[in-house]
């Protein structure tokens, strides 16, 4: 029954009330989830900010038409002004143009790498969590193997081996993008996999799973319809962390010379370049750091909202 939890004053009442008022038999779980998500103020704010950021980086460069690599030695390290709304860096390059351009890279790398890692992780984790015995052991063996490989040299090798061929296949920038997304994704799925598996371990002994099993639900159905939706809570949190981690990993890769060509500014790279000038030109680091923070914040609040909205435990 929906109203059973508020017996405790410690639980926020809002989502529960939403649940109680919107419950109607003909509503699909997804419409309901959407409805609950809309009531989640922070999540909506996060979504709005995130969409705005995407719009800004997508269309901003069309409006703010300053070249990202226009060097101007008369305007080094200038604080924000009308000519340069976000100031300039130590080569006098316009930071607004660079931030807008860099946002395209950072946001798309962050999101795409997150999707890659979560999809791989969830698939492997749920297979392992469902099938005990040898398949579980083999998959966890694989997970351990990936966990123990030092990611830096392996990333180095992957990118070194495939950079040229990707460049010929789909061009320098897109090739690097695909490579980096796959490489980061391929080294971050293990946490999601272990989390999903652990959730499965806990859930597969639960009564509602037993019940579904008793009713003759197939393994796949059990997994997809009953356990997985319940296991998604920590995965969504992991996903939001992955977005941040991917943005930061990309900056580390640029630093090692394996990321995008050095004259292409991603947010992580701008932050890295700015660090030694922090005392005289704080604006340089501030905007890049702020942009990463804001996007992580927005994604995380969206995650929180999603997590609450998707929480299908309405029986309790």
């Amino acid at each position: 029954m929906a109203g059973s939890t508020p017996a405790s004053p410690t639980v926020d009442a809002a989502p529960v009330v939403v649940r109680a008022t919107t419950r109607a038999r003909q509503v699909t779980p997804w419409t309901e989830a959407w409805r609950r998500f809309r009531r989640h103020r922070l999540a909506v704010a996060g979504a709005v900010v995130f969409v705005l950021m995407i719009l800004a980086v997508a269309f901003g460069p069309l409006i703010w038409r300053v070249q990202i690599n226009e060097i101007d030695f008369t305007a080094q390290l200038q604080p924000p002004s009308w000519a340069h709304p976000l100031g300039t860096d130590d080569l006098g390059q316009d930071l607004l143009a660079r931030m807008l351009y860099g946002g395209r890279i950072s946001l798309s790398v962050g999101l795409a790498a997150m999707v890659v890692s979560i999809v791989i992780g969830t698939i492997i984790g749920s297979i392992a969590g469902m099938s005990r015995g040898s398949i579980d052991a083999a998959l966890m063996w694989l997970t351990d193997l990936f966990l123990s490989l030092p990611s830096v040299p392996v990333l180095l090798l992957l990118i070194y081996l495939f950079r040229e061929s990707m460049k010929h296949l789909i061009g320098a920038e897109l090739g690097t993008f695909v490579l980096i997304v796959v490489a980061i994704g391929a080294f971050r799925w293990m946490i999601a996999a272990r989390l999903v598996r652990a959730q499965f371990f806990a859930l597969r002994e639960k009564e509602f799973v037993e019940a579904a099993r008793a009713l003759g639900a197939s393994q796949i159905r059990l997994m997809a319809r009953h356990i997985l939706p319940n296991a998604l809570g920590p995965v969504i949190v992991a996903a939001t962390i992955d977005v941040a981690a991917a943005i930061i990993t990309e900056s580390t890769l640029s630093f090692l010379g394996l990321g995008f060509p050095p004259d292409i500014p991603s947010w992580g790279r701008i932050l890295f370049d700015a660090k030694d000038n922090l005392d005289v030109a704080p604006h340089w680091a501030l905007f890049a750091g702020g942009a990463i923070f804001l996007s992580v914040l927005a994604v995380s609040f969206m995650g929180d909202g999603l997590r609450d909205a998707l929480d299908p435990r309405r029986v309790i």
């Binding site: 059973s4 939890t5 017996a7 405790s8 410690t10 639980v11 926020d12 809002a14 922070l42 005990r132 015995g133 052991a137 063996w141 351990d144 193997l145 966990l147 123990s148 490989l149 030092p150 830096v152 040299p153 392996v154 180095l156 090798l157 070194y160 081996l161 946490i191 272990r194 652990a198 959730q199 371990f201 806990a202 002994e205 809570g233 920590p234 969504i236 949190v237 992991a238 939001t240 962390i241 941040a244 930061i248 900056s251 992580g268 932050l271 890295f272 660090k275 922090l278 680091a285 750091g289 990463i292 923070f293 996007s295 992580v296 914040l297 995380s300 997590r307 929480d311 435990r313 309790i316």
Partner: protein
């Protein structure tokens, strides 16, 4: 239980072998060699670099190099560093105390902050406390450690002149004074790393507790009239710990190797900085040695996590 343990331990042998093969192949295929600095120096004939490569077996076929390494390893010989020509195990052992002290302390700090804060935030979700704490946590892991480290240095070492920012593993002196000096030099690296780790961990704890807090047995426990404290500690936290244990177990080894940036900024001579300098100079035996230690740690931590699951949730069976 003991059968499960034995089986798990037996599985580790092919695991370790697999990891070592994969790693060795990757390293052998990877570009570069440890003698790069010789190359730009016109006074050193290029043959020297080539002779060194040959002497250290870098030009042998990969399977042969691997076999050499494996046989030596089975005899307890970890090989020697191409760069410093010192035995790999000596190098690792030298770094171990500092690593455990600093990185371990950071991990403990992370746990100490993340657990209570995460639980409190989840107990009152979307309260002012939760939102402030969550915002800080998000700031924590959206700023790379190279950045937070420099901010701390600028404030505490340069502006205020309170703390040194070069870590010395062999601080002279003794007694209370020594402890004070040790504390002063360790606090910044521990805080930078601890908060970075703690931020992510806090988010996980919060999420895990939120998952549990609405379950029926919690309500039952409350309705029995148990004090709130007991409900939270005994019923909620214990059950919420499963995903947290997973995360901590996963993070533990990665933290030792992944503290590279923090170690670099504060010049902490830890295992992570050993690994990164070995990677930068393509010092294969050292990379192999360090990652081998990490692999053992990963396997050990995962095993411990699996055993802990059983303690946390008696319904989980080991089959």
């Amino acid at each position: 239980m003991s059968r499960y343990l034995i089986r798990r331990l037996l599985i580790t042998i092919p695991s370790l072998l697999g990891i070592s093969v994969a790693l060795f192949t990757i390293l052998a295929l990877a570009p570069g060699d440890p003698f790069g600095e010789l190359a730009t120096n016109p006074a050193i004939p290029p043959e020297v670099q080539a002779a060194l490569r040959a002497k250290f077996g870098l030009d042998d076929p990969i399977p042969i190099r691997y076999l050499h390494w494996l046989v030596a390893m089975l005899h307890g010989d970890w090989g020697f560093s191409f760069v410093s020509r010192v035995n790999v195990d000596t190098l690792i052992l030298q770094r171990l105390p500092t690593t455990i002290a600093v990185i371990g302390a950071a991990q403990v700090l992370a746990l100490l902050v993340a657990l209570p804060v995460g639980v409190l935030a989840a107990v009152r979700p979307y309260s002012a406390f939760d939102q402030v704490v969550s915002t800080f946590a998000l700031m924590g892991f959206s700023l790379p450690t190279f950045f937070t480290g420099i901010i701390l240095i600028l404030v505490f070492s340069i502006q205020l002149d309170w703390l040194p920012f070069v870590f010395r593993a062999d601080l002279p002196g003794s007694g209370l004074h020594w402890w004070w000096a040790e504390f002063k030099q360790s606090i910044m690296p521990i805080v930078v790393l601890g908060l970075f780790l703690g931020a992510a961990m806090m988010r996980f704890v919060r999420s895990a507790v939120l998952d549990v807090i609405r379950l029926e047995y919690v309500t039952t426990a409350r309705s029995k009239g148990l004090p709130e404290r007991a409900v939270i500690l005994k019923h909620i936290v214990r059950n919420a710990l499963i995903p947290v244990v997973t995360l901590v177990a996963l993070q533990m080894p990665a933290v030792f190797g992944g503290a590279i940036v923090t170690e670099q900024i504060f010049r902490v001579p830890g295992i992570g900085s050993l690994l990164i300098s070995a990677i930068q100079s393509n010092d294969t035996p050292v990379i192999m040695g360090v990652t081998f230690v990490f692999s053992c740690l990963v396997i050990l931590c995962n095993l411990m996590a699996d055993l802990l699951y059983g303690w946390l949730d008696p319904r989980i069976t080991y089959r």
